[in-house]
């Protein structure tokens, strides 16, 4: 028998061999009777189920992050602190964000409210809490409200964030850190629940050995997709190996030549390293899910999922990223564009997994552009996604990488269009030529997200937009960035 251990309501909770298919939301509501956390959509769109996870970073600093409990599996809590709405304020002592919500009339029917409070609480403890409405609206993009029109919530948030980091959780920080240290696990966690096993190794060697021994296991990273398989697909996942505790897989490092991102590092950790070198990708990454999804989801998960509309593969293909794949004791390094073989098919062999992603540092001779086309700005799945990189020397394109998602069964480069650009100056006429050539590269499908014609035309227009964004004569800000008030 094994116990998972996590910090909840000031105490270390121990649960013997929990059902690994049970979500934290259901555990809170049904097992614990803590019904403050709500289910609004059960698929990570509405944020009513938001809770906060506390964990220690590499420097043993305590970090708080908002996540969707409706797609979070219970054993993932092992070693972490769980903060749900019941824990944030007490009847006699509302949390500052709750006080501000009362003052601003930030709650009406109250159903989305616990989720907003949890999101605001995490923002309250962020390294750099939002100081303006636009930034805060971005932090709350994963929370839907139908009553208030958001303005009172934003007002409340901004008022409370002025005193950020001065609550009882901050006062207890040292204690919380020592409690979390006390439940740190030395080796692999393995639980068994009626034939369902869950393993959370800590080292890449252990992960590799485990996965090689049971190649049919489901690798769980952020769980933003797998959580839905369980809750919506009603699939029973009997063997789960969680990658989120593997130190080598969660590290993000930058050296002179490359940015190396552990496959299980959540977007929240991975993206800053990428956007520091490639600020052109900032908007795309800020629209990848919402905060709650980016706090769980990982680059490795997005790549391994091999969806044709995943947002990160076109970016990484354009950036000439490599993947390091690991199987047992063996590692091999491949170009990411060779990873995808067919619709949801990859080169991964049984027991093999993505260990890390290696992205070459910015080349100042290159032009970069990354675009995500969706029906709405926040929290939407791409109809078309584009990642572009051109090397321009002496006013001539010497290398071109034009990668698209949503245009074929896999994320894919437009080689014909790329060839059209080589040797050409980079200008509007070349962009038009390349755009036309994309017609030979792709035969997109029609589905409910977009028609084939729309996809073809908008992919072509993304190239034209890329020219406009990189046109040195143009003084305007990048077209992809929208003005907010």
């Amino acid at each position: 028998m094994t116990k998972i251990r996590f910090l909840h309501r000031g105490e270390i909770r121990e649960i013997h061999d929990p059902d690994p298919n049970l979500t934290v939301l259901r555990w809170l509501r049904e097992n614990e009777g803590l019904t403050g956390t709500k289910e609004g959509c059960a698929e990570g769109d509405c944020g009513a189920c938001t809770v906060v996870l506390g964990s220690l970073d590499a420097e043993d600093q305590l970090i708080y992050r908002a996540v969707n409990s409706c797609i979070l599996l219970l054993p993932v809590l092992d070693g972490k602190q769980l903060i749900a709405i019941e824990d944030i304020g007490t009847p006699d002592d509302l949390h500052p964000v709750q006080d501000a919500m009362v003052a601003s009339h930030g709650s009406q029917c109250g159903f989305c409210t616990p989720g907003f409070v949890a999101s605001l609480f995490a923002e309250y403890h962020a390294e750099a809490p939002a100081t303006d409405q636009r930034a805060l609206a971005q932090s709350l993009a994963g929370n839907l409200c139908r009553c208030t029109g958001y303005r009172p919530i934003l007002d409340a948030g901004l008022a409370a964030l002025k005193t950020a980091g001065k609550d009882k959780f901050q006062a207890r920080r040292a204690d919380t850190i020592s409690q979390l240290k006390a439940i740190e696990r030395a080796g692999t966690l393995t639980t068994n629940y009626g034939g369902r096993s869950y393993s959370a190794p800590q080292t890449i060697e252990d992960l590799a050995a485990l996965f090689e021994a049971s190649p049919d296991a489901k690798l769980l990273a952020g769980g933003t997709d797998i959580g839905l398989e369980i809750t919506k697909g009603r699939r029973s996942l009997d063997t789960i190996i969680y990658t989120g505790m593997v130190r080598d897989l969660t590290e993000v490092t930058t050296n002179e030549t490359a940015i190396t991102i552990g496959a299980a590092a959540p977007y929240t950790d991975a993206v800053p390293a990428l956007t520091k070198d490639f600020p052109e990708a900032s908007e795309l990454f800020s629209r990848l899910g919402a905060v709650q999804v980016r706090n769980l989801g990982t680059l490795g998960g997005n790549i391994a999922n091999a969806s044709p509309i995943g947002d990160t593969p076109p970016v990484l293909i354009a950036l000439s990223a490599d993947l390091v794949l690991r199987q047992g004791k063996n590692e091999r390094q491949i170009a990411i564009e060779t990873f995808f073989t067919d619709y949801r098919q990859t080169v991964l062999r049984p027991g093999e997994f993505i260990a890390r992603i290696i992205v070459p540092r910015r080349n100042q001779a290159n032009l970069y552009g990354f675009y995500k086309l969706t029906k709405r700005f926040d929290q939407d799945i791409s109809a078309v996604c584009g990642g572009f990189c051109l090397t321009v020397r002496d006013d001539v394109v010497t290398e071109a990488r034009l990668a698209f998602g949503g245009m074929a069964a896999t994320p894919k480069r437009g080689h014909t269009a790329e060839k059209m650009l080589i040797g050409q100056p980079w200008n509007g006429a070349s962009a038009d030529l390349a755009a036309t050539a994309l017609g030979d590269d792709f035969t997109p499908l029609s589905d409910f997200r977009a028609s084939a014609d729309y996809r073809r035309l908008s992919a072509q227009n993304l190239l034209r937009r890329f020219w406009l964004d990189t046109d040195p004569a143009r003084d305007a800000q990048p077209t992809g960035v929208l003005d907010y008030v």
Partner: protein, 770 residues
């Protein structure tokens, strides 16, 4: 907290509880021995059910019962109630009201139509059993589109009819209107479509039914806007029971906006609980909500305005095709007909004639959604005026000014029936224009153009009926500790009734709000109640509380007189103190309460304790009104429309609590911004499948979609109710749709575009600019 009064910005009492996650919504309840119901829904928009084999499903693990429509009919249970009091002069007998049982029997008529109800020990067991249920369908042609359903030759939703029309309702004077149009110098016309919308309250529809086997009584936990109407529906509509044996408890309600009324799943939950002798819990999950909840709007109006050479409005003629969906929702056709009179708006229009045709289609039922016809009406007239301005060359503000009903004309009887008692519409408009700095708009437009942006200014007026006629109920009772409990017949789904009612009681009785407990949504609390809807609480709910306060004071005066050994007539009451006139002999309310529980504390014939039952009857509607001014910026390259300035000037009569009023107005605006720019329920016209089936695909606004919304009060007094308040729940929503659309159309005016139907998505605007 101290004594508070009406008009103060009192923060909400209910907030700390809700902010701590202590709200108690129906899905939060877990009863002993409860089991879970799951509705198996039709995957087809229109099909004949040719066979159902439930053998495998019934044998699946944990399954307790698999119920189908034939069982419901065999058990002799009633049809889902439909209210048929939609509007003055509506001919019920000429309308086609198809029967709706809780499950489809012979045919399914929409995607999401209930076909079976499976109850199991766990929800997943019920869902797994649903996969094993074999249902054979013979597919039929389907029509989901509002316009297409009204076309001759459209496939029929209900057999035996010649077309899909359910009713025709007319209002106004056809001859006079025809004459006005004949004499007009100018007639403008437009086809204006309002798309279907998902209500999408964050809490979905939910129910838990628990029959007491010994007594036969049922406790039904269900979030509904009308607890007492639901009780009647359960007792007399579905079963044949004594209403006293039915207790409805709504608990906290996570938003409703018109949605939460009597629906088939409620009957299923009750029926299954009765059959099984165990509590049955049913929670509509999000995808099922988007499929099966009633939807808002869904109307196409052909509207014409007749003007003379000076731009004076002479007459208005509107013919509307209203989509009903496959069935009537509980409120029947009310949402398509009731607020039709708002079409003449705040304008002096001598004559008008309106015809509404309701049509069935193979789509989810439509029903009330924030405004329930009010936004539809103001949208038509305010769009039409902007189109008239463009066609006549008269400035749109000037055109409005020439036709506004002046404040001096009050009371003003409109061509479509209602008599406005008060309002200063010119002041509303000038306030909004000043607030948005309309004078400097053209220079802002020019500055935006230099950045490649198109700036547009939109303005729209609105007036609507709210409150009365009707009744409402409230009871006050004190306990021995002096705590006053108010039981109200209204229900709260976010409006903040507890705060408002406490303000009234605190001011009138001189007691601290912390010594007041407000309870709603429980039929065991008081004799009757009419619920919440149609912006009625500020007038009717408050009126009932005022009445209960009055009765309480009368009763307390009797006790005080008894205690002070004087005649009631000699006692005055002020600020919580009873005083024998002209003396210094006093008793506080608290002392009266204490005395009321003592032996001989009350006069002979009175029950011990202090209480007061209030019944309020209101006959005169009130007319909240307003003017919104909106600035929208459109990106020429992407077509995205972003709000940049928003000023809402409104007249809700006496402002009872500015914080709550502001919240209602702003929230209503936000929903309508969603309608104007983003949201649409979309069915695939080829097969009737719902394409907007998740929050991923149904695009509700998020925090980043708004600019600051400036709400300015411009009250004019009304005598329609004791507090002088007007309705506030819908006025923001009603004004925002035309204001935002007018702003977008103003921005697009360089392209010669006069009208686009909502939602004005980036793609639609981009296309319009090419």
């Amino acid at each position: 907290m101290g004594i508070v009064s009406v008009g103060q910005s009192v923060p909400r009492h209910e907030d700390p509880r809700l902010l701590r996650g202590e709200g108690r919504y129906t899905a939060d309840i877990a009863l002993d021995r409860q089991v879970y119901g799951y509705t198996v829904r039709s995957p087809h928009a229109h099909a004949r059910i040719t066979g159902i084999d439930r053998t495998a499903a019934a044998a699946a693990p944990g399954v307790l019962t698999v119920l189908i429509g034939a069982d419901y009919a065999a058990d002799g249970l009633g049809e889902i109630p439909v209210m048929l009091s939609p509007a003055p002069g509506f001919d019920k007998d000429a309308a086609i009201i198809p029967p709706r049982l809780a499950l489809a029997t012979d045919k399914v008529r929409m995607v999401g139509d209930g076909v079976a109800f499976i109850v199991a020990e766990t929800l997943n067991q019920a869902k797994n059993a649903a996969d094993l249920l074999e249902i054979e369908y013979q597919l039929l042609d389907a029509v989901t589109d509002t316009g297409a359903s009204a076309q001759p030759g459209a496939s029929l939703v209900w057999e035996g009819q010649t077309d899909n029309r359910a009713f025709t309702y007319s209002l106004g004077d056809p001859q006079a209107t025809q004459a006005a149009f004949a004499s007009a110098d100018k007639i403008v016309s437009a086809r204006i479509e309002m798309q279907r919308l998902a209500v999408a309250s964050l809490e979905g529809r939910t129910a838990i039914a628990n029959f007491d086997q010994a007594t036969g009584k049922v406790t039904f936990y269900v979030p509904v806007q009308g607890a007492f109407a639901t009780r009647v529906g359960v007792a007399k509509g579905i079963f044949d029971m004594d209403p006293e044996d039915v207790r409805i408890i709504t608990g906290d309600i996570g938003g409703s906006f018109g949605l939460k009324s009597f629906t088939p799943e409620m009957a299923l939950t009750l029926w299954a609980a009765k059959r099984l002798g165990r509590p049955v819990k049913w929670v509509n999950e999000r995808q099922d909500s988007l499929l099966s909840d009633h939807q808002g709007r869904g109307k196409i109006s052909q509207a014409e305005l007749a003007l003379d050479a000076n731009g004076k409005f002479l007459g208005l003629r509107v013919t509307t095709t209203a989509s009903l969906g496959a069935y009537f929702s509980q409120m029947g056709m009310m949402h398509t007909t009731l607020s039709t009179s708002g079409l003449v708006g705040v304008y002096d229009i001598a004559t008008a004639y309106v015809t509404i045709n309701g049509y069935f289609s193979n789509a989810a039922p439509t029903g009330p959604y924030r405004g329930a016809g009010r936004p539809d009406a103001s949208y038509v007239i305010e769009r039409l005026i902007d189109i008239a301005a463009a066609e006549t060359g008269i400035d749109r503000l000037e055109l409005r000014r020439r036709n506004l009903i002046p404040a001096s004309a009050m009371p003003y009887k409109t061509a479509l029936g209602p008599t406005y008692d008060s309002g200063d519409f010119a002041k509303n408009m000038e306030t909004a224009l000043t607030g948005i700095d309309a004078a400097e708009f053209e220079s802002r437009r020019a500055a935006a153009a230099e950045k490649g942006k198109l700036l547009g200014l939109g303005i729209a007026n609105n007036i609507e009926n709210a409150g009365a006629p009707g009744m409402e109920f409230a009871d006050i009772s004190f306990d021995q500790n002096g705590v006053a409990t108010l039981a109200a017949g209204t229900t709260d789904h976010g409006q903040g009734h507890a705060t408002l009612y406490s303000q009234i009681m605190s001011e009138r009785l001189g007691i601290d709000p912390e010594e007041i407990v407000v309870r709603e949504g429980d039929t065991d609390l008081l004799a009757d109640g009419r619920g919440t809807g149609g912006s009625r609480v500020s007038a009717m709910g408050s009126g009932a509380v005022m009445a209960a306060v009055d009765v309480t004071i009368v009763n307390a005066t009797k006790i005080a007189a008894h205690q002070l050994e004087t005649a009631e007539a000699d006692i005055s009451f002020d600020a919580g103190l009873f005083q024998v006139r002209g003396t210094d002999r006093t008793l506080s309310l608290r002392e009266v309460v204490t005395a009321s529980f003592l032996p001989d504390g009350v006069p002979q014939g009175m029950e011990p304790g202090l209480s007061g039952e209030g019944i309020y009857k209101g006959s005169a509607a009130n007319f909240p009104n307003g003017c919104h001014a909106v600035e929208v910026e459109i990106d020429r390259e992407t077509g995205r429309a972003a709000l940049t300035r928003y000023v809402a000037s409104h007249d809700v009569g006496r402002v009872l609590n500015p914080l709550l009023v502001n919240g209602q107005v702003t929230g209503g605006i936000a929903q309508s911004v969603g309608q104007a720019l983003l949201e649409a329920v979309v069915y695939d016209p080829s097969d009737g499948q719902l394409l907007s089936g998740s929050f991923l695909d149904y695009c509700m606004p998020r925090a980043s979609d708004f600019c600051h919304i400036d709400v300015i009060d411009n009250p004019t007094p009304t005598s329609a109710n004791p507090l002088g308040a007007k309705g506030v729940g819908e006025v923001g929503a009603a004004c925002a749709v035309p204001a935002v659309v007018n702003a977008v159309m103003d921005a697009l005016s360089p392209f010669g575009v006069t009208h686009l139907d909502t939602p004005l998505t980036s793609a639609k605007l981009w296309r319009a600019m090419q």
